[in-house]
């Protein structure tokens, strides 16, 4: 059978998956984000109060990074017959110039995420080289990791639990 040569006209849907979010603010203070089926409210980009309960923009962002990495590992684990027996990750984020965010006079530098470090602890029965290969291959399936590694200092460490 002769296959059609479609190299010149690749299908957009095959190359791209688009997502659209809507954000509104009825009270002109907080923001409501709508996904396809859900919505969530965000009141602050970040809170410096350790007792503040609502989830901030920065917490959603950090949670998104950490969850994407852990889920990538779990998905690859399932494909290999549930290699991972236990998993836990810790994300450390350093926000530079936080005082500019709150309008402290004398601080004008743009606030930005200087560095993120993710440490993943895994209980998995693999030898060292196989462990490294498995983790790195799984990490390569995380779109959020792959995006951020191009734009910011993002270090991911894997530690095998014995």
């Amino acid at each position: 059978m002769k296959r059609a040569n479609n190299e010149a006209t690749p299908l957009y849907e095959s190359k791209m998956f688009d997502i659209q979010f809507r954000g509104t603010s009825n009270d002109l203070s907080s923001v409501k984000i709508y996904t396809n089926k859900n919505s969530f409210q965000i009141e602050n980009q970040i809170s410096f109060d350790s007792e503040y309960k609502p989830i901030s923009s920065l917490e959603y962002f950090a949670g998104s990074v950490l969850s994407s990495i852990l889920l990538s590992l779990l998905e690859q684990s399932k494909k290999r017959g549930s290699l991972i027996e236990e998993i836990e990750g810790v994300l450390h984020l350093s926000l530079e110039n936080p005082l500019s965010m709150i309008g402290v006079k004398g601080y004008d530098e743009e606030p930005f995420i200087r560095k993120m470090t993710v440490t993943v602890f895994l209980y998995v029965d693999l030898e060292d080289k196989a462990f490294d290969d498995f983790c790195l291959n799984a990490l390569a399936k995380s779109p959020i990791y792959n995006t951020l590694k191009r734009s910011t200092e993002l270090e991911v460490l894997f530690k095998k639990l014995l």
């Binding site: 007792e51 005082l99 709150i102 006079k105 004398g106």
Partner: protein
């Protein structure tokens, strides 16, 4: 009386400190006397802000109070302070095995101080040494730990580094605020078996609210009445008071700044 928000300035070096001011602002709003907090990077900027009337009231360090006092020819208005701002002392600490037992033993020695603009960890102890016959720049070597310059010693880092240098044998003595000395002995940061206090300064006062000379005295008095209604038994207030290190707001006084004024005259610090 005007209903305009009263603008209150504070120096912020850690974003977590804004929580304190959020609680204070909420309380004043509940009491019907709204405030607007204006934050500054350092005290010099805050005093500039007070002089320019960007703010009506400043939460001033003792040195910022003196700066304001000088710039307003003594006409600035003094306000409340924390209970813990009254009757502080600076301690002179040495290693027990040094053989140094009094201030005269520091002659020719190296003394660790905090930041250049720290009242408690540099200016006042230097004046204390002067009053005890040890002249700055002649009778001892100054080793300064300039952490957070511009914050007038609010950041504890300079004093802590000076004490660590003492422990490491890099200096012969170090100075620190009495509250820090007691806290560090208690939590084990400093080893009481190795260090000893050989002298203390006379008592002095620390931070104080300061209002611009043209700010309505009536409003300032009303504002302070509300401030003094903050109650340590109220959970939200307690959180703020614990963070700011007080149990109650008390009346301000400027008698406790005499040593700092002498130190400023001696070192010509604010005249530079």
């Amino acid at each position: 009386m005007s209903n305009e928000k009263i603008k209150v300035g504070a120096v912020i070096y850690d974003p977590r400190v804004t929580v304190i001011w959020g609680i204070i602002a909420d309380f004043f709003k509940e009491e019907g006397l709204e405030i607007e907090c204006v934050f500054y990077k350092d005290y010099e900027g805050q005093v500039d802000g007070l002089m320019n009337r960007e703010i009506d009231i400043a939460w001033n360090s003792p040195l910022a109070w003196l700066d304001t006092y000088i710039r307003t020819d003594g006409t600035c208005q003094m306000g409340s302070m924390r209970d813990t701002d009254r009757d502080r002392k600076t301690v002179f600490v040495v290693r027990k095995d040094s053989g140094i037992t009094n201030l005269d033993g520091l002659r020719g020695k190296t003394i660790g101080f905090g930041a250049v603009d720290s009242p408690q960890a540099r200016l006042i102890p230097i004046n204390h040494l002067h009053k005890n016959g040890l002249e700055y720049g002649a009778d001892y070597v100054e080793k300064r730990f300039d952490i957070g310059v511009g914050l007038h010693g609010d950041h504890v880092g300079g004093e802590l580094d000076a004490m660590r240098a003492l422990m490491a044998g890099e200096v012969d003595a170090s100075v620190t605020l009495d509250l820090n000395w007691e806290a560090w002995k208690k939590d084990g940061t400093m080893d009481e078996n190795q260090l000893t206090c050989i002298d203390t300064t006379a008592s002095f006062d620390h931070c104080i609210f300061t209002a611009h000379p043209d700010f309505s005295t009536e409003r300032f008095v009303e504002w302070q009445k509300v401030l003094h209604r903050m109650d340590y038994t109220n959970e939200a207030h307690q959180k703020m008071m614990d963070m700011e290190g007080l149990k109650e707001w008390v009346e301000g006084r400027i008698t406790g700044f005499q040593q700092l004024r002498e130190a400023n005259d001696y070192l010509k610090f604010l005249n530079k």
